[in-house]
Each structure stands twice: as structure tokens, then as C-alpha cells.
Amino acid sequence: MKARKWTQFLTWSSDPSARGILVWLSSIGFEGNLEVIGRLGSSRMSGRDSKLLTPSPLCLVLPSIHTLTFLPERKLGDENRGRPGYPYVTGTSVLGIKYKDGVLIAADTAASYGSTVRYKSVERLKACGKHCLIGASGEISDFQQILQYVDKLILNDYMWDDGNNLSPKDIHNYLTRIMYNKRNNFDPLWNTLVLGGVKNGEKYLGVVTMIGVQYVDNHVASGFGNHLARPIFRDEWHENLTLEEGIQLLEKALTVLFYRDRSAINKVQVANITEAGINISEPYALKTNWDYNAFKNPTVGAEGSW
């Protein structure tokens, strides 16, 4: 790729999705040398969550000789926007599945500050109106902003008081328009939203990403859930899951995520949306098993280590 003087930059990415990053960036007009410095030891980013290099609690390596210069209007965040172009406090995966009577969405209650799991009681699942629930991964403050938008929308709709109500689909599309619009102005809300609801017997489950990608499916996940939970869903999801089976499936995926995602914690919430209404459980702990031989006497192979 030809390097243009004014568009050289550094990106962090995890190897499998390096190509994904290349494609993404070239599609928004950036060309240049992409130097993958190497995987940050504690990196937990999937393709979508990779960030452009800017000082942030997640970056611990000095910049290389390629300096970071952007055209002023192309930068992902500056004083004029009043918001940084990178996330600080982030939530990890959100999982969603449809089941017989409705939709189940689950997430843990952690918010990380870079590699530190800073906040452990963050509710990342919020009900919006009577029929809809939104779960978010990514920057928590941006999620709070999105909740403000949705709140205004729901209030407006409620005030009409004319027998018409917003359906989950309406809210989904509204959010997509917002995310896509902000992305076009290089000022994204750094979230992947999972949206679920039931209206007039119809179950709805969809996703919106920070660049405005929108889709619906029978089972969805965001962040690391895409890599770890969705294969489990593909194998074990079927049309007529009961509530218990659905929760079991979600808990299985959440447990895997707790084992393998370093920013997940063992405190989760599961939300159940049915025609009758929305019910978000109190946070509870998953059962985990650490009783493996490999974990006993960990220093047996290397005296003096811990």
C-alpha cells in the first residue's frame, strides 16, 4: 500500500482481524503503511473494538517513527467535538437469544478502565419503553448518552397517547440512524448495542454497531461474545427453547466468557422480555470450576515462579 505523507497512522489490532482493520480504514479513505506493532499482552480486542493509536489507558507502547497526523476534519475526536475519539470505560460482551416466549439478553456487570476491571456493578442492560430492552458493550458514557436519546424518544411517543407505540424495530432503526450518522461525522458512539423486544407476539432481536451496521438474528452477541458465545449458540440454539433452557444456554456462554475474557467478571444479569413485560434479574454469580489438575501445583514445572 502506498504511503501518503499525511495519512500515516498506527493501529492496534489482533492478528486475525488485521485484514478486517485494513479494509475498514481504507474504506473511509485512509491509505498508508499499516505497521502492526504487535499484540498488546493484555489486549482483548476483537476486530470491531480496535482503536486507532492515541493515548489511552489501553496503550502501553511508545509510538514508532511513523507519527500520527490526520487531516483536521478526519480525526476521530478533538477539542471541537468535546469528546475523545477512543473509549475509556468499557463494558464487554452482551449476549442475546430468542426463545419460545420471548427474548433473553445477558451481560455481566463489569466496566473496565483499560486493562483494569474498575467498576463491578454496572448495569449494562436497560429497559426502554414497555416492549424493548437495550444492552450495550463499549464505552459506558456513550451508552448513557444513547439511553438519553431513547428516553426522549419513548417520552415523546408516550405523550402522543394515541394507541400507537414504538415497536422494538422502530427503536432499532432509530439507533442505527444515529450511530451511522455519527460515524459519518467521525464522531462515533463507541458501542455495540444489542436490542431485544416483543410486540404483538412478534419477537425481535437485533444489533447495531458503532459504525452503523445493523442486523437481526435469532441469537446475537457483541464483543468477545462473537468469538466465544456464538459458536455455542450455533450448536445448541433451537426454535423452541424454554425459559430454563434459554437461561442455561446463556449461562454456559457467560461462563466460557468469564473463563476466557479477561475483562469479564463472575457477576451477571439476565433480562427476560416477553409480551407481558420486561424483567431484569438481580446480579448473580455463575458457577465456575477451577478444580483441574493442571491448576494444582502450578510451579511444579518451574521452581520459583508463581
Binding site: 400507537n164 424495530k169 422502530d170
Partner: protein, 281 residues
């Protein structure tokens, strides 16, 4: 109407507490040719009297499709009506873009009414000189609304506006209690009868009236002249089967008998006719 010194400006109140400009605008609506609307539990029908001022002139377009689920009939200054229908179409399409679902007709009507109200409170504007009958469906079923130049809006079971609308209204007042249970064809026939009342001496043909229909699972469609003529012919067949003396006199029957007559005598318009004529926008 008489002239007085308080009617030059829309922003001038008269001592009697009236805005004369607004009332004159409503007069313009009353001078336009008639538009009639009626609804059942599943459909709303709009019918218009299309008067051409000369033989050489083609008929004015008074029925407009706003969206797949909303349409309007207008009476009065049709130029103003076109502007309003362009606004309504724009609102519907914007709503669809953001929410991917149809704009509820009641909310659109309020937006139009608010737009009309602005023109009654600015000295550099004038009220819209057109009355709209808005037919549409939303989550709660089919609805018929009227929008006035004054900025008011009303919901109706059945209504008529324009010149000689009183005759149509009288017919509707007689029959409206049966409308909720009507089938699509029955409702169309009622609308045509009402148009006939407005036409009075003239014979009802597909060239001097227009008809449009929207339903819960049916897109807004302006009937093309062939289909319309078929309905008109079916009206006459139905009348002939009755013991009514003359053709022009609408049948005076009790509601129950009306329904049985319609079902036995009506001509069914084939469902797969030539289809709706393409909407000129």
C-alpha cells in the same frame, strides 16, 4: 360575505372575536367541489366530485396518495392542497427512513394541523385555502380525519366537504350506523351514493367522480375508471332489484334489508382487474 374593516389581516381580531381571514379561507373550501369520506372497521373510502369547467378541460386531481397507508381528498384551492400533500409525503418518507415503519395517520394529521395554524398567526402568511379529508390506517385500525384551514382537525366516521356537501352529509347521517360492519364493496357503494347526492341532477359516471380506498391490509389505491364504472354499474343493478320507484332516489330501507340487498344483488368487481393506474406524483 360582507366586507368589514377587520378582515384585511389574518392577525387582526374582529370585535366579535373572529379571525375573518380564516373564515374566508374556510369559505374557499366550501366553494370547491365535494369530497366525501367514510370508514368501516377495516377500510376507509374517499370519493370526490370531479367537475371540469369546460368539456375541453380534463378533470382536476383531488385524490392524492401520501403513503401506502395514507391518502387524501381535498376541496378548495387544489394548489394549496398539492403543497400540503407534498409536505405530508415528505413527513411520511422521513419517518419511514428513520423508523422503517409507517407514520401513524393521526400523528401526521396533527402535524398538518399545526402547520396550518402557523399560517393563522403570522401577518406575512395566509391560511391554506384547502380542506383535506385524510384517510389512513395505523395500529388501532382505519381512521378518517378532516383538516381545516383554521388549523383544527377532527376525526369522523363519515363526512363530506365542499359545495353541495350537505346533500351527501344528509345521506351519510342516515346511513352511518351501518358503516362499521360494511364490507369493502358495500362501503364503496355507499360512497358512490353519497357522491350521487352531491351531483343531484347529473348522472353518475366514472368521468365525473373519483374514488380511492385504503384498508388494514390494503394499500391506498385510487380506483381506475374501469373499476369505478363497474362499481357504478353495480349500484344501478342493486337499485333495479329493489322496489324503489326512480333511479335517482336513493333506496329508503332499514339497515338490515340494505345489507341483504347488497349481498344478493351486488356485482363483484374481479379482484385481479387491471390494477390501479400508476400514481402521477
Amino acid at each position: 360575505m360582507f366586507r368589514n374593516q377587520y378582515d384585511t389581516d389574518v392577525t387582526t381580531w374582529s370585535p366579535a372575536g373572529r379571525l375573518h381571514q380564516v373564515e374566508y379561507a374556510m369559505e374557499a373550501v366550501k366553494q370547491g367541489s365535494a369530497a366525501i369520506g367514510l370508514r368501516s372497521k377495516t377500510h376507509v373510502v374517499l370519493a370526490t366530485v370531479n367537475k371540469a369547467s369546460s368539456e375541453l378541460l380534463s378533470h382536476q386531481k383531488k385524490l392524492f396518495k401520501i403513503d401506502n397507508h395514507i391518502g387524501i381528498a381535498m376541496a378548495g384551492l387544489t394548489a394549496d392542497g398539492r403543497v400540503l400533500s407534498r409536505y405530508m409525503r415528505s413527513e411520511c418518507i422521513n419517518h419511514n427512513f428513520v423508523y422503517e415503519s409507517p407514520l401513524p395517520v393521526g400523528r401526521l394529521v396533527v402535524q398538518v394541523a399545526d402547520k396550518a395554524q402557523v399560517c393563522t398567526q403570522r401577518s406575512w402568511k395566509r391560511p391554506y385555502g384547502v380542506g383535506l379529508l385524510v384517510a389512513g390506517t395505523d395500529e388501532t385500525g382505519p381512521h378518517l380525519y378532516q383538516n381545516c384551514p383554521s388549523g383544527n382537525y377532527f376525526e369522523y366516521q363519515a363526512f363530506a366537504i365542499g359545495s353541495r356537501s350537505q346533500a351527501a352529509k344528509t345521506y351519510l347521517e342516515r346511513k352511518y350506523e351501518t358503516f362499521m360492519g360494511c364490507t369493502k364493496d358495500e362501503l364503496i357503494r355507499h360512497a358512490l351514493y353519497a357522491v350521487k347526492e352531491s351531483l343531484q341532477e347529473e348522472e353518475l359516471t366514472s368521468s365525473n367522480c373519483g374514488l380511492a380506498l385504503v384498508g388494514i391490509d390494503e394499500k391506498f389505491e385510487i380506483l381506475d375508471p374501469k373499476k369505478l364504472q363497474a362499481y357504478i354499474d353495480s349500484m344501478e343493478d342493486a337499485t333495479k332489484e329493489e322496489a324503489a320507484p326512480t333511479e335517482e332516489q336513493p333506496p329508503h330501507v332499514a339497515a338490515g334489508a340494505l345489507l341483504t340487498r347488497e349481498s344478493s344483488g351486488g356485482v363483484e368487481v374481479p379482484a385481479d382487474g387491471d390494477g390501479p393506474s400508476p400514481m402521477e406524483t
